[in-house]
């Protein structure tokens, strides 16, 4: 069977958020269900119309069965492949392939967790380590994931002269965007000195170079572009997607300053027929301040090594000429473990002109980029209001 993987073959309909920040006693299944109900309703659909579901969990290998059971869905198509934080952008390709193959029509993609209100016990953390053994790294006690990203940041600084001030610019811009977003968790003022002077976790990254740990759930629905026009006034077309992974653990990464985003981005741009200069708003997974700097380079917004200079001078902050991470990002908005679903939801919000105080003017094309593991899995998508 030949599957015609067309540019813009699928579109995103409704989105939903729930339990952002602190879920206030609700379980992760409850907030995922609430976000899912909202997404389905916003899609002009009913839950019984959902015949495909994609979700994954950091903890449970049975997650798609548990969520389908909870929501009362008997899916014709389901997938629960876990690509860490990049999962839900990588899932766009899986959903598009399933729809193109005629396996299903309306795919619900959902995720959430509650690490703030229900922190993992040391026993759970120990179990996670045992289920994903890394015997050649674990004995050195890296404080992961922070230490792995710190190794990438340190090398980038050594190789290209990137500075801690430039890293801090990423966190400060994220906070300024968060101050425009009532849903964002951290909205207090934050300065460059506030980042540099914060508690050091794993040099050169302070706690303010690291993402939040919050609760939160997100969901969205994907259907064929053709059906989407009948269901929604503003479908957001998926023009191109790309996914790549080259390693799992940081010691197996060839060059810690070059991520598989090089490949995922190339594939997404090629499918979309777009270039970096066509993009109006950019949402990059900012688990740590080094990440967007690496991704700006690998996704072609600047040359390798120039990402630090690129973000200087408030360029990526509100009012700058390169709107990026407009919800406040994982650094200041929300970060419940695997964040990429929120990149898509924010991009859709921007493209529909529904972002209120943080709205980017005339946003027609958005790039979303998710990261999983320790720079391990990279997924890129180009989204647009028109084909």
């Amino acid at each position: 069977m030949v599957i015609d993987q067309q540019r813009g073959a699928v579109a995103i309909l409704g989105t939903g958020l729930a339990g952002l920040g602190h879920a206030g006693g609700r379980t992760e299944q409850e907030i995922i269900a609430q976000a899912s109900c909202r997404a389905v309703e916003q899609s002009g659909l009913r839950m019984k119309d959902i015949d495909g579901i994609i979700t994954s969990s950091l903890t449970s290998p049975w997650w798609v069965m548990r969520m389908a059971e909870y929501l009362g869905i008997r899916p014709r198509f389901s997938d629960s492949t876990m690509f860490g934080g990049s999962s839900f952008i990588a899932d766009l390709k899986i959903a598009a392939m399933a729809i193109a193959a005629g396996e299903c029509e309306n795919v619900l993609i959902c995720y959430g967790s509650t690490p703030r209100s229900v922190p993992s016990s040391s026993r759970i953390n120990q179990m996670r380590a045992e289920l994903d053994p890394q015997p050649y790294e674990h004995p050195y006690k890296p404080f992961n994931p922070v230490s792995s990203y710190a190794l990438a940041a340190a090398r980038h600084m050594h190789q290209y002269g990137t500075t801690r001030q430039q890293l801090a610019e990423v966190a400060v811009a994220a906070r300024q965007w968060a101050q425009l977003n009532p849903d964002a968790f951290s909205r207090d003022p934050l300065s460059i000195d506030g980042v540099l002077g914060a508690k050091m976790i794993s040099d050169p990254l302070t706690v303010r170079d690291c993402c939040l740990v919050t609760d939160g759930a997100g969901a969205f629905v994907v259907t064929s572009a053709e059906r989407s026009r009948a269901l929604h006034a503003k479908p957001v077309y998926v023009l191109g997607t790309g996914h790549a992974h080259w390693h799992r653990q940081i010691s197996c990464m060839d060059d810690v300053t070059v991520t598989p985003a090089v490949d995922s981005g190339r594939r997404a741009y090629a499918e979309a027929g777009l270039r970096p200069s066509d993009v109006d708003v950019v949402e990059l997974y900012d688990a740590f301040t080094i990440n967007p700097i690496l991704f700006l380079e690998d996704l072609g917004f600047c040359k390798k090594g120039e990402g630090g200079a690129f973000v200087e001078g408030g360029r990526i902050a509100p009012g700058g000429d390169f709107p990026m991470n407009t919800n406040g990002g994982g650094l200041s908005c929300t970060h419940p473990g695997m964040y990429s679903i929120f990149l898509i939801i924010e991009a859709v919000t921007q493209l529909r002109g529904e972002a209120d105080a943080r709205q980017v003017r005339d946003a027609e094309v958005a790039l979303v980029h998710g990261n999983g593991g320790v720079l391990s899995s990279q997924a890129t998508a180009l989204l647009s209001t028109s084909l």
């Binding site: 050649y136 050195y140 006690k141 230490s147 190794l151 990438a152 050594h158 794993s202």
Partner: protein, 127 residues
């Protein structure tokens, strides 16, 4: 059906030797390249024709971080061996803030309460 002879996993072989004070890594007889972590097939060419060899022990710090923990600070480094492979390790015997990227280092096996640990010391230092 005859059961295959019991052979230690690559992990067991590596750490078993390390416990004896011997540092060995796999080298592929087909493409002649070394690799790390140890596997049963070469990640460069897919060959299963591998041998264990002792590297010279010389390396260069590729990247380094200081992990700040309540129990005390320590380094976590990526070290590139002269033979090519990169591994995670720790540079010891010098203050944590004196570890530098590009520093020449030499392998040493420390027997710790948690098992044998391959660490590195600055080249030229007395072990």
């Amino acid at each position: 059906m005859a059961m295959p002879a019991d052979v230690p996993s690559a992990d067991a072989r590596y750490f078993g030797k390390l416990a004896e004070g011997i540092f060995e890594i796999p080298r592929c007889r087909t493409c002649s390249r070394h690799h790390f972590f140890p596997r049963v097939c070469c990640p460069h060419c897919g060959s299963q024709d591998l041998e264990w060899v002792a590297p010279a022990g010389a390396g260069v710090v590729y990247s380094s971080t200081i992990v700040r923990r309540p129990g005390g600070d320590y380094t976590v480094c990526l070290v590139d061996l002269q033979e090519g492979p990169r591994l995670m390790s720790r540079v010891v015997d010098i203050p944590v803030d004196e570890v530098r990227i590009g520093m020449a280092v030499r392998a040493r096996i420390d027997q710790t309460t948690e098992g044998p640990l391959l660490v590195f010391i600055p080249e030229g230092a007395r072990s």
